[in-house]
Subunit: 247 residues, 2 copies
Amino acid sequence: MKDNKTGTYTFVTEPFHVDFNGKLTLGVLGNHLLNCAGFHATDRGFGMAMLNEDNYTWVLSRLAIEMDDMPGQYENFTIRTWVENVYRLFTDRNFAIVNKDGITIGYARSIWAMINMNTRKPADLLSMHGGNIVEYICESEDCPVEKPGRIKVETKEVTETLTAKYNDIDINGHVNSIRYIEHILDLFPIEYYRTMRIRRFEIAYIAESYYGDELKFYKEETGGGEFSIEVRKDNDEVVCRSKVVFQ
Amino acid sequence: MKDNKTGTYTFVTEPFHVDFNGKLTLGVLGNHLLNCAGFHATDRGFGMAMLNEDNYTWVLSRLAIEMDDMPGQYENFTIRTWVENVYRLFTDRNFAIVNKDGITIGYARSIWAMINMNTRKPADLLSMHGGNIVEYICESEDCPVEKPGRIKVETKEVTETLTAKYNDIDINGHVNSIRYIEHILDLFPIEYYRTMRIRRFEIAYIAESYYGDELKFYKEETGGGEFSIEVRKDNDEVVCRSKVVFQ
C-alpha cells in the first residue's frame, strides 16, 4: 500500500475461474476489480449500501483493462485501487494487478457516475457529503495505460444473437456488467486464445438491457488483432461497445 | 467446527453473484462447494495439485444441493464440509451451508471418483496413501437430505441447443461442472424464480464435452414443480442429467 488512499485486496485464482490455458479469465478479473471498487468506496462512506439508503447508486460507465499476463490457477494475486480524479459528474478509479511475486502484471481504468435511483439523473459528486470525495484523490499512484477511448462499429452484420437469461440478470433486474464481458469474449474462436492473448479490453456501458431482451452482437476487425464490438437490443438501441486487442 | 475432520470456510455474497432476487445463485454456491472440497482435500494430502503430480485427479460424479434459503447480497455465510464414506471407487463428501446468523440453511452431498489421468481408469481409493483416506471419515456430522438418485428423462423434444464456448471451458479442456448448472438453470423462465425458489438441485456428470460441442438440453416436468433434464452431445451421447425441484 503506497499510502492510505490506496486499497489493497488479495485473491486466489480459483479452478473454475481459469480458462483452458489455466489463466484467470478476464470476466472474473473484471468481477474482482468491481468488487475492489466496492470495498474501497464502502470504507470511505461511498459504498453502495450507504448510497442506496439515500437513493443514490454508482453506475459503471467505462472499464479498460490492460494485461501483460494473468494469474495462474491457485496463484495469489493482489489488486490495488485508488481514485485518480473526481469531476462534477464522473470519477476515475484506477487499478493495478500484482502477481504472486510482487510484479505488476496489469492496470485498469474505470469511469463511474452516480445517479439518483428515483429520477435516474446524475448526481453532482463534488457536492456529495460536503464535497469530501476529493479528499480521496490519490496523487502518488501511476496508471500507465491509455484512457478508455471512443469505440466505433460500422458493420451491419450480426455476429451473434443471444437472449438475456436468468443467470445474466443482477439484483437491479439488468444484465450484469460482467456477463457482457463474458458474452463478448465468447464471440472469439478458441484458436485466438490458443495462439494469442488479450492485451487490452475496453467496454463502454451505454444503456441497460433486461431479461428476455434479444442482444445482437456486431463485431469487426479494425486492425491487426484489434476488434470493435457493439451490442444492440431488439429496438436497435446500443447497449454497450467494446474493444478487444489480441497480441 | 464440530471436530477436526470437518473443514469450515467463510464467504461473502458478492454483488455479481446474486440473482435479481438479491440471493446467491446456485451456480456460484456450487463453485464455492467444490472449492471447499478442494481446500479440505488439499489440507489432508489429497488435493488436486498433489494428485496431479502422481497423474491422478478427482472427478465429480454427482452433486445434490438442498436449500431452505440462500445468502443475500453482501451477507457472510459459512460452508462446512466432511467426508462421510470412502468406498473402493467412490467417496461421499457432504456439506452444510450456514447463514450469517449461524442457522443451517441447506446441505449438499457429492460423490467423487479418482482417476488415473493417463489411463482414465478409476483408482482404488482404499489403497491410496496406504489406505489413510478412511481416517478422514467423519462420524459426528449429519446430512439430513436425500442421496442423489437415478434421473430418467424420456422426452425427445429439445428445449435448448447451445454450443460450448470459450468461457465454458476449464483447464482440462472440458466444459466446466459449474457451467452445466448455469445452463440448466437458464432453461427456466424468470417467472419461476420470481414466484418459486429451487428447493433441491441434483446433477450427475456422465461424460465430458468440449469446445465447439453442440449441447442439446432435454427438459421434462415430472411432477408438481419437479423437472428432469438431460444434456446430450452432437453424437447423442449423454453428458449429464439433472433434477430441479421448485417450491
